[in-house]
Point group: C2
Chain length 401, copies 2
């Protein structure tokens, strides 16, 4: 028998009929001789619906309570999927995050896994059971409920696969990883395989396929990862260690992120302490900051801009109001209407001129770029949402994606 | 500061606006100098909705998984109410059943409380916090999630009040206990007080106001109990120890229960072993049986009838099918369309002729009774649902309810 951790996304479990389909799909895998641990997300848009309810009560709800609220979603999924498996004769059993001893630390809603108890799972597997685990959730040292943040179920699945020493199969409502999100560019190609590094850049750039922490974890513990369409026998995309070589295509893919907002602050005194204080406070509130850019000082004052996730605007506003109150010259602005477009590929490591070519394409199409950041294998641009389509099509055609 | 356990019913928390209203009501009580532990049910019809989802997958879903499913509802309530309290400046903190160490034993979906850890609550109270506890849920010795059955949040609240040595205030969408459910008899009177015994008979007879186990627990531990309208300053009904005396009214109230089904079995061999086996199997499945009646044997065969909760029909059917298969002569029938009407009062202890008077009233109105059971202070009848209205009005008028 081969052991495998499977993870089913919220969309594949969107309603009762879909849950029954996933149960049948799991049964099929078992009949192929697999021992399975199955990690599930909350059904469909449950998490968003719960967050919306909290949002109707408070602009900045307590994170401890948000974690209590949101973990209810996965609890519903594990129970219903287990019942559906029983109904078709599969011996299954649900487990919550606390029940598998998934220990965490850090923010209640963006905690990191510190430990998990695979023994309880191995016991149940030895009894011939499929173990259905609630993704996304854990418990901290104070016995408080925590969540792993958006896409946390992927992280739960990879962490389990790492501990159990087996592959991790992610099943979603897409049949694999594409060069560009097909919703934005219908001619995009599906990739048979992609490196951990490229997938990680895609994920951090906002491609909403696999959670970036899950990819990091898979890379660190060498967990073979795949993304496939739930219910289909057709192979998806395999994510694995790959070397860059001369033949690597310059660009593997484009990722588009519309879930970030741009914050611009002017009139900041040019000393490191002020800056450090501000960023420290942001970090304390677990606000992720990306695409930082700073102007040259003018009259000993600097301007600073960076992007944050839209979900963090409430918390960020509070801090920025305090910051602006404490320093007279400081003013800030939040622009929610931005698009972050990232282009990535291992080929950038070995081929020169990729950046130049990209600038030329954007200039030819009169697309204005407000911020740019680069990594070894990725270039990210902030552009206006109305330019998104033109930019994606031009780049995709030029690089044959 | 006086300590009190308050419990808010699902209907008082039916939507976001109602949750905000409950938060304001709690704040008002705190400003009156109360220290509060608040127990909440699932919002509105959440529990029914979750059960319906499970019902769409399986006719007889596994109880372990049902408990996992259903406890998600209270988890949502505690988080949202706590967030609403924070929003109006009240220092509050949510706690799940497992977090207050509410230990249980027995069936996963009808477990009984064996222990709870009031220390963790006292700690938080000492910090000036309102503690918001998820009702209905606990955890058994195997660290599995369990529920206390329908109305289990009342039981959680009374158990907490017993341990903390304080009164328990139940807040609902009704302003107290009435002689008859006003939906069935608009002229019914509200009772200022009622004895534990009478309330218990009302509850077991199906008056859906306070859970019967909660009343038993309150009586055993002498917990002062009250039922009041959420949001109102007007006093509700106090449930307490009362003595029967000459002036006790003969009948305190009428309870109507439309949630039971009648099972009639014919052709059962007249030996105690067969009967005992059947009832034991029912008990193993945690099926509550009420209003048992048995005919005199005829050709060494007896007929038996009893009522069960409609929710148990699925489990009961399985057992009865097996029973009928194992004994040739056995046939059974389930009648779902029945009404159980119960009349109760401490006065029955001291006044004679109450039963005779009731029979006369039913006979005068041509109401057929299929089964009767009696206790010291209660008489229950199974009648046809179409006779319910006539029977209630006739009895209520005759006894001035």
């Amino acid at each position: 028998m081969s052991l495998s951790v499977q993870k089913y996304s919220g969309k594949t479990l969107g309603n009762i009929e879909k849950i029954k389909e996933v149960a049948l799909f799991i049964k099929k895998h078992m009949e192929m001789g697999k021992n399975l641990v199955v990690v599930v997300s909350a059904m469909g848009d449950t998490t968003d619906r719960l967050l919306e309810m909290a949002g109707q009560i408070s602009e900045d709800p307590d994170k401890r309570e948000l974690a209590v609220l949101m973990t209810s979603g996965e609890q519903v999924s594990i129970a219903l999927l287990t019942i559906a498996l029983h109904e078709i004769g599969v011996d299954a059993m649900s487990m919550t995050g606390p029940q598998i001893g998934l220990m965490t630390s850090g923010s209640h809603t963006r905690s990191v896994i510190t430990d998990l108890d695979e023994k309880v799972i191995l016991e149940k597997l030895a009894e011939g059971k499929v173990v259905i685990v609630a993704g996304f959730q854990g418990v901290n040292e104070e016995n408080e409920i925590t969540t792993l943040g958006r896409g946390g179920s992927d992280t739960t699945a990879v962490a389990l696969a790492a501990r159990l020493g087996c592959p991790c199969e992610l099943f979603a409502d897409i049949d694999g990883v594409y060069t560009v999100n097909p919703n934005y560019y219908p001619n995009a190609r599906k990739l048979a395989e992609i490196s951990y590094d490229e997938m990680l850049e895609m994920a951090t750039a906002g491609a909403d396929i696999v959670n970036s922490r899950a990819i990091e974890l898979a890379q660190r513990y060498k967990v073979p990862l795949s993304v496939s369409l739930s219910g289909s026998d057709y192979p998806g995309t395999i994510i694995k260690e790959m070397e860059s070589n001369m033949e690597s295509t310059a660009i593997t893919g484009i990722a588009i992120n519309n879930d970030e907002a741009m914050i611009s602050i002017t009139g900041i005194p040019n000393d490191m302490k002020t800056m450090a204080d501000l960023f420290e406070k942001m970090a304390d509130k677990y606000i992720n900051i990306d695409m930082i850019s700073q102007t040259m000082p003018k009259n000993k004052l600097v301007s600073l801009s960076f992007t944050i996730e839209k979900g963090d605007i409430g918390s960020a506003k509070k801090l920025l109001d305090e910051f602006a109150e404490s320093i007279d010259s400081v003013k800030y602005e939040i622009v929610e209407n931005i698009c972050k477009l990232s282009v990535m590929g291992l080929g950038m490591l070995t081929q020169s001129g990729v950046a130049a070519k990209l600038f030329r394409i954007l200039a030819d199409h009169h697309i204005e770029v407000s911020t740019i950041t680069t990594s070894e294998i990725k270039i990210s641009y902030v552009i206006a949402p109305e330019d998104q389509r033109t930019a994606v099509e031009a780049i995709a055609q030029e690089f044959n994606l």
